[in-house]
């Protein structure tokens, strides 16, 4: 146990966390057939919940997720969901095909275990 004690004396400490991230983050964009349609943040969240209910029933509708940020003009949003709920939320977004009788699609732009990665994606680099 000696080395461990030594470490306590010095300031150095290292912790490895594997698969411990409690949340997953998604950057999504809603595409609607009629591009002039606008949704408020509450309407968007209710729409996503309806998708969860369609696919997973009441248990799915109870899945907790957060709408962290939403831009009404571009219909782009940041979502946060518990790690165990990611596949459920994602698949119900994928299978959502109509909003108020018009065709629609969710484009999932990025998924990550870290919110930081959503603002630092090198695939967005544009050089001309």
């Amino acid at each position: 146990m000696k080395p461990a004690e030594k470490e306590e004396e010095s300031v150095y400490k290292r912790v490895v966390l594997k698969n411990a991230s409690p949340y997953q983050y998604m950057k999504i964009c809603l595409v609607l057939e009629d591009e002039s349609t606008r949704l408020s943040a509450v309407e968007l969240k209710l729409f996503i919940i309806s998708g969860l209910r369609n696919l997973y029933g009441e248990v799915g509708a109870a899945l907790n997720f957060d709408l962290l940020k939403y831009d009404e003009d571009t219909l782009t949003a940041f979502l946060r969901v518990t790690s165990r709920g990611l596949v459920k939320l994602w698949s119900s977004l994928t299978l959502l095909g109509s909003y108020q009788n018009q065709a629609c699609a969710f484009r999932v732009l990025q998924v990550s275990s870290f919110l930081l990665s959503l603002t630092g994606n090198s695939r967005d680099l544009q050089l001309d």
């Binding site: 010095s10 300031v11 150095y12 400490k13 290292r14 912790v15 490895v16 966390l17 594997k18 698969n19 411990a20 991230s21 409690p22 949340y23 997953q24 983050y25 943040a41 509450v42 969240k45 907790n64 957060d66 709408l67 962290l68 940020k69 939403y70 940041f78 946060r80 790690s83 165990r84 709920g85 990611l86 596949v87 459920k88 698949s91 990025q110 998924v111 990550s112 275990s113 870290f114 919110l115 930081l116 990665s117 959503l118 603002t119 630092g120 994606n121 090198s122 695939r123 680099l125 050089l127 001309d128």
Partner: protein, 353 residues
Amino acid sequence: MSVDVSPTPQSLLVCDRSSFLDQKNRLNSQVEQLRFNYKVSLLLPECGSAPSHLDSVLNSFSSFCVIRNLPIYELLDRHFLESAVYHGSVYGLSYGTRMDEDNCVALMPNGRLSLSLDKDSYELLGLQGKPSRFNHRTRIRFVVSIDLTDSNMAPGGQGYLRLLTGLKSRLQLQTDFLLSHHPGGIPSLQPLLSRFEWSEHKPKVVHRSLTDLACPVLTSDQWSCDPHSFLEWLGAVDADISSENSSSTFLSSWVCPEPQRPVSQALSVSVCGLLLPQDLHRLTQALRGYLEQPRLESWASMTVHGFVDSVVSWGENEHRVHRGGHNFYTLLMFHNHMYHLHLASEAKDSCPP
């Protein structure tokens, strides 16, 4: 016939705590191992505008260039090897290619050329490589890594000629390429650039002033805030997410981690492009200087994102993109020379150093 739809997605986070004054701190070696950096973002609490010495470092990041449709065998050009690869460090990375789909190429500062190839291209190249660690059922991707500084790879040597014919007459790999050189900069790359269509780019600096921020209380002696919550908060600041809607938790239940305190203003600066570890090292030093002056908040943070489609992740370890392919580190520095370093990557990728 039940399907488990709740597997936990994988992630890896390494947290280090140490002091700049500790002789054995490994910060420099750790930071250098992430070679292809795309973006750095700083957060300076209680700071209205960056002090001039910090500003000058931020504005003096080395330029890089992008070459359109570079035939990869041109990297073996004798003049280029002599002027750039053997002297100093070259950072080169294929651009507009994706690690989980396309052939990707990296030229590393130690003179190693690393090619991540699909099966067809690998067989055409006809050079020995290793199957990727991340192949699933079938061997579909291979990695060929060649040390260009090896005596066998000297121009005219046997290995050199084999690689040259492989890349020139068989595989004919062509891609857009990002290139930078330390310490010579663009002039050292001239022998190569003069023959192709290329453009020079200066890393882009963006300043953003924030006001009335809720900020977690961070202290240097312990993990005062859980690493995941801290990184989440940093991400929220970066993405401009407000926690004001806490009155209605219907939309979002996210709040700033407790204990928190209000910060009247903060400065967020980001730099984007192909960033060299040497420049990031200078930035770290400048931040230490910044922290030595007495301030209301005694910390500053610096987050560095690596290129998602880099062939290597940390050091020379093979990088994998499954869903996001993120790799980044966050350095949280304190007034008393202590620092917290958080290194993150997608799991199954290699563990950060």
